[in-house]
Amino acid sequence: MTILKNRLFWPAVILVALLVVNMFTSNQFITVRDGHLFGTLPDILRGSAPLLLVALGMTLVIATGGIDLSVGSVMAISGAVACLLISDLGNQNSVGSVLLIIGVAIVVSLVLGLWNGALVAAVGIQPIIATLILMVAGRGVAQLITDGQIINVQSSPYATIATGFFLAMPVAFLIAVGAVVLTVLLTRRTALGLLLESVGGSPTASRLAGIRSRRITVMTYVVSGGLAGLAGLIYSANIKSADSISAGNLIELDAILAVVIGGTALIGGRFSIAGTVIGALLIQTLGVTVVAVGVPSKATLLFKAVIVVALCLSQSATFRQKVFGRIKPRPATAVRAEVPA
């Protein structure tokens, strides 16, 4: 019974169900070809990397009671910076130069995160407004960097981070897994997780307990920016170009959804990284499944919405009690009826 009460039970069930559907609809769910995994499942894992990374950062931000709407724009900027620098290289296949450029793009993203964090924690602007600024302005900045063009690159080391394989696994997915493991270690092996949850629970009470609330808040936005930057690199490496318009477009909404499905409340406080991972995988799988089962493209968004509504309802205790909970009180009522008799 306790497993049924776990908040992640239903999302996990739906995720498995969607994967099972894919097993039957796809020609090749999972096989080994040329020494690496191939098929729908590895595709889902690979494709989910950007969302996983963004949702991971979003989890930390939401845990402090904030929100980061600028992640899509940060993705665009980071991709633009990387592609611009790579296209200027004499030898685009130089591994050292590409690694250096990746480093530069991530530093830029961290700085963008710092900007968000400063607006929220130092200036005191509401997170939704503070990050909206970069959400809107960031795409403009990305377009300025690329001069309004789509910059194409021909760099195989760069493409590797999106489409390559390592130990038979997609590199992009391994990067995401690495980020998840790092974040779990960072938050649960240190006291950061507790302090984050405390700040999310009540910034005032946390300050009076001696926690540097502001510093912690800023840190979450910096991490979110960095992870979004990494996601932007994977996205642009996948299409081998910097597309400032569509890179990370609306990804903030999917990321927020992944976090909420994972059981982290938008008001802040307790957060679950495992939940976010399930949430992000679920959203990615849903997107693939919708296409695979042949839902007409005009109806895909609506179909997705229906699944999400069902999922959210399944997580609502009140709703569950209304629909399934009738079974329990009845025996109690029956006992009571016997008393006066």
Binding site: A191, A205, V335
Partner: protein, 508 residues
């Protein structure tokens, strides 16, 4: 005098929460035209019983009869319709609306769908006149004091349904004259035949206004008594189930240890420390092992003074010395580095983190001072937490329970534990005993005395003079955001002496 039949009768009420039996076969009767006090420590089941009565909780066993008919409430609305109205500790009204609007919100007199404003104001005025209140009913509610707001809430409750009125801690934020005014209203309603259930932590008030009382302890019924026939001491014994030796022990303790602390080295000394708009510049020295009491009315600057010493607010004038060295406290962390701890009066908003567990709440301050990179090892955490759960008798003794599930007194103990594990040299506690029961109160007072014996300095802020007098070595009296007098707590000093100062300002 033949007993009339009760308007409300609850028998064998049972309510179980996961892991806890909150109410275990409790009986409760309420007669028309009586004021009935519900007594018990925090966690005794008072709140649960009230929530059962108001339909917030469904019961797991037992029967409720209202006006002779069996009822079962599944929601607050239902209970209200049946004639049970509640006025809670925090006033649940819209302060931005007018008095009349507040009284009739949701049930405005209408004609053809239009609200009849004139009739509404007239009826509101009549209703308030019944309670001897003469207010401008079209004025916005926030122009009136909290006490008046509370009475407006009562007027509304009585008008909605007048059979049973529940007053949950109505006096906790009122001053003496406002309490008198409230009692007048309660007596008036009693004469009209309303049955009033009254919950208060102030024993004197219970004795002044109630006719009968019911005592609960640990979810069980201890008994129902006529107030006049049960001496206060016996009542307290029934509530906490143990002798009051603890409190007697504390008497004169302050005087006994005085000689030692007066000579001890000062931990902290403030000279002309102040903050514009919060507290006028003051001088204050606190020695090791000394208990300094802060007395004064609500809003006299007690909390503001305490916050300056913890760096929660920054001083804009004067100097502060800790161990003889000039320091500036820019933040709580800075104060904590000097061994200062501060437990806020606003337990819920500035103290506990409801969603976190007892363990997490207790280790929070220690962890914060170590920084996030140096987590306290889990074994060490469990050790510390277990130790303080035992020492402070935190109930339930479950470190993994969310703190919001605990009663007020136990939440307060968790807060104290949070600061005690940081081993402070100066502990500032703001209203640690407000809204908690006698038993927990005595335990907290005892703890303060023990800390002082162990060499910890305590700045004790409380609105209750008796408590300040019992514990403090010296007492700082505040009035209108100004420290007006410092009194050594010697033989001649009593509550009257302090009240004189509060009333008349500095005597020097």
């Amino acid at each position: 005098m033949g007993e009339p039949s009760p308007v409300l009768e609850m028998t064998g009420i049972r309510k179980v929460f996961p892991g806890v039996v909150a109410l275990d076969g409790v009986d409760f009767r309420l007669f028309p035209g009586e004021i009935h006090a519900l007594m018990g420590e925090n966690g005794a089941g008072k709140s649960t019983l009230i929530k059962v009565l108001t339909g917030v909780y469904d019961i797991d066993g037992g029967d409720i009869t209202l006006g002779g008919a069996a009822v079962r409430f599944t929601g607050p609305l239902q209970s209200q319709k049946a004639g049970v109205s509640t006025v809670y500790q925090e006033v649940n009204l819209c302060t931005n609306l007018s008095v009349a609007e507040n009284i009739f919100i949701g049930r405005e007199p209408r004609r053809l769908g239009r609200i009849q404003w004139g009739l509404m104001r007239k009826r509101a005025a009549e209703l308030l006149a019944r309670l001897d209140l003469n207010l401008d009913v079209s004025a916005s509610l926030d122009t009136y004091s909290l006490a008046i707001q509370q009475m407006v809430a009562i007027a509304r409750a009585v008008d909605v349904s007048a059979r049973v009125l529940i007053l949950d801690e109505p006096t906790s934020s009122l001053d003496a004259s406002e309490v008198e005014q409230l009692f007048k209203v309660m007596r008036r309603l009693k004469e009209e035949g309303v049955a009033i259930l009254f919950v208060s932590h102030f024993l004197d008030q219970v004795y002044e206004v109630s006719d009968r009382l019911t005592v609960l302890r640990n979810g069980k019924l201890i008994g129902e008594y006529k107030t006049a026939e049960l001496p206060q001491v016996q009542l307290v014994e029934k509530m906490i189930g143990k002798e009051l030796a603890v409190l007697d022990d504390l008497e004169n303790k302050a005087q006994r240890t005085r000689a030692k602390t007066a000579e001890a080295a000062p931990i902290l000394s403030a000279t002309g420390l102040g903050r514009t708009g919060a507290i006028a510049p003051f001088d204050l020295t606190i020695n090791a092992g000394e208990v300094v009491g802060l007395a004064g009315l609500l809003g006299s600057g007690r909390t503001e003074l305490a916050r300056l010493l913890f760096g929660a607010d920054r001083a804009d004038s004067g100097t502060l010395q800790i161990d003889g060295k000039d320091v500036t406290l820019r933040s709580p962390q800075a104060a904590m580095k000097h061994g200062i701890a501060f437990s806020s009066e606003n337990r819920r908003t500035e103290g506990i983190l409801g969603e976190l567990t007892v363990r997490e709440n207790i280790i929070l301050a220690l962890q914060a001072s170590r920084g996030w990179t140096r987590p306290i090892p889990r074994r060490k955490q469990d050790e510390l937490v277990d130790k303080y759960i035992k020492a402070l008798q935190i109930r339930p003794a479950d470190p993994e329970r969310e703190v919001r599930m605990l009663s007020g007194g136990n939440q307060q103990k968790v807060l104290l534990a949070r600061w005690l594990i940081t081993e402070p040299r100066l502990l500032i506690i703001d209203e640690p005993t407000r809204g908690i029961d006698v038993g927990a109160k005595a335990e907290i007072q005892k703890l303060v005395a023990e800390l002082s014996d162990g060499g910890v300095a305590v700045l004790f802020v409380s609105a209750e003079l008796e408590e300040v007098l019992r514990l403090s070595h010296k007492i700082e009296v505040l009035r209108d955001r100004r420290l007006v007098e410092e009194l050594e707590n010697t033989e001649g000093v009593d509550a009257d002496r302090i009240m004189q100062t509060i009333a008349s300002g500095a005597t020097s």
